[in-house]
Symmetry: C2
Subunit: 359 residues, 2 copies
């Protein structure tokens, strides 16, 4: 570990300050005092579309061509009162496949999400919807052109989502649909509620150079410094953003993503890229029951290898495999798990030590 | 740089978004004190889909069938500290066509939206995304089946949005694209920024009995009383919700919608329906320059007729045509206009008098 300090020591401090679930479950906490909040867009470009709608002549019968905006990224934010005390750095929390900014909000069983918790811990929090998802919209031109008959059905994007059944096993709620692991941290009684936030993913519309990478870089610059957090499909997006332009990226948190770029079906990071990433503190996080799923072990080992490579290149990368740190039963959706605030405290402790300078 | 994306491209994006950041820097109001905030879903039903993705065998190759959730409605909310003082009633703010909850958030030129303003005025505010929009997701089954070849292209939903050009004239930013009305209240210098929040509308996937109606009714019951506000495409949704189940609907605000149901291409309200709606206080709002657009006069007169019918049936309906009330230049997006807080004050005054009992 960098600086010769063991993560176990940091963990001891972090767990000692963890907020108990009971204290916050009853929502009897102090009011949340916000200095500023709102929403805006990052990126976006104007294109000329020949299919504003799927109807000849357009929605109003006045024509079906015009300018629309694509590749934009919606961002919501909250800045706590007094947040800059202690040199706190803003945190951007980006969701993964088939999900939206909701990932980091109130959990399916009604507990506080990381968005509010990090704000209560004095951090400005920025919550995007990925390009081509949710409030960021998507380019419907291709779908409309197929409807209009000017493109074949094979031109349609491969839209995907997760079924309830696949989510249960893939996200490691349990070994088979309806059966949880005995120590499962995901609130499986609210699995149906979780299903409501699983939505279609149209990333297949996007180029390999996903515009979200560029938008993340630009956001970090706009914020004059930020920690970028990604999850699953977007787990390695912070690194991709840093490889485009590291200015403003003060730290990276990669949660259960593909550090070898296997999700994006691209080659793993080159030595030159590793050298660039070695300039930014990186925290990689995985939950529990990895070995119980055929899907996850290669991703965990791929990220372990990535962490080793970054450190060998003189970087500051930390692998936080939760069961090795004494937290058991965490699912893929560890920001929604029953012990989500304990996990958040570990991240905050890492941020304080590795990004904010040990305050 | 990876992906061939230059720093210049990133910088362009970063600077392009710095305009609203500067506008936000002038925020000098008191902190916002929140008692509770979060998000949840209303409604939703589980269906069996035969096309979880557009690829045979599914995303993971383990099959393409399974259970998904559709018809759910995402809702964000904030409850101010001390909000119940004065008998304040929660307000649900629903967006219209081709837009999302962003409608009521920070304006395109960086000013406070109604969501924060109403919270500062002591109201709990609830911000949904319509069913089949944004964070509420949509049912991609049909699109996927067309891609898979099991349905013809003609089965595709008619997805629509507004081009920048059509939005300018239809939303009454000005008489022709790029030219504002001389007294235009919409921040036309931020028209490009507005374009980023215009997204595809998949309401064509939904039945005539739009699930959003039912979800609005359910939300008002869950909140033990709420004012439902709709806009444009959803302008008459509060009335539709009240006609399904009025319990909990303490008041209705219909902004520039079709009171004769012309948007939904359905027959206008019957005398029986008018009699039911006469039990709930209703505020109908239209902006300026109605006569300058061929599209809007029938909608204004249709709503004037509706207000007369409700009052003739013993109800409490008010038509607020802003120029008649001394506010000139308002566009279709009056919640984002430069005088949006003045308009909000008129709504709050109506709420205090007609819903909250004259406090």
């Amino acid at each position: 570990m960098r600086h010769g300090v063991s993560f176990a020591a940091v963990l001891t401090v972090a767990l000692g300050t963890a907020v108990s679930a009971a204290a916050q479950a009853g929502r009897s906490q102090a009011p949340l005092v916000i200095r500023e909040q709102g929403s805006f867009f990052v990126g976006g470009r104007t294109i000329h579309t020949v299919a504003v709608s799927g109807t000849p002549g357009g929605l109003l019968g006045t024509g079906n061509e015009g300018s629309i905006t694509v590749d934009q990224m919606y961002v919501q934010y909250q800045i706590p009162e007094g947040g800059e005390r202690g040199g706190h750095v803003p945190v951007v929390m980006l969701h993964g496949c088939c999900l939206s900014g909701k990932t980091y909000e109130t959990t399916p069983d009604g507990r506080m999400g990381w968005d509010e918790y990090f704000v209560r811990k004095g951090r400005a929090v920025y919550l995007p919807d990925q390009v081509s998802r949710a409030r960021s919209g998507f380019d419907a031109t291709t779908i409309n052109m197929v409807r209009l008959g000017t493109l074949p059905a094979s031109a349609l994007p491969n839209i995907f989502t997760f079924s309830h059944e696949d989510a249960w096993t893939l996200f490691r709620f349990g070994p088979s649909f309806g059966t949880p692991f005995s120590d499962e941290q995901f609130p499986v009684n609210a699995a149906d509620e979780f299903g409501k936030q699983v939505i279609p993913d149209l990333n297949a519309l996007l180029p390999v150079a996903n515009p979200t990478y560029n938008n993340l870089s630009a956001l970090a610059i706009r914020l004059k410094g930020a920690i970028l957090m990604g999850h699953s499909e977007s787990g390695f997006f912070p690194e991709e953003a840093a490889l485009i332009e590291p200015t403003g990226i003060r730290g990276v948190v990669s949660i259960e993503g593909s550090c070898d770029r296997s999700f994006a079906q691209q080659p793993p990071p080159t030595p030159q890229e590793i050298a660039m990433l070695a300039k930014i503190p990186i925290l990689v996080i995985f939950g529990d029951h990895i070995a119980d799923s055929p899907f996850w072990p290669p991703l965990l080992s791929g990220c372990q290898q990535f962490v080793q490579q970054v450190n060998a290149a003189g970087g500051d990368a930390t692998m936080l495999h939760l069961p090795a740190a004494g937290l058991f039963g965490n699912s893929h959706m560890l920001m929604q798990d029953k012990n989500n605030l304990q996990v958040a405290d570990l991240i905050l402790a890492w941020i304080e030590r590795h990004v904010e300078g040990g305050h």
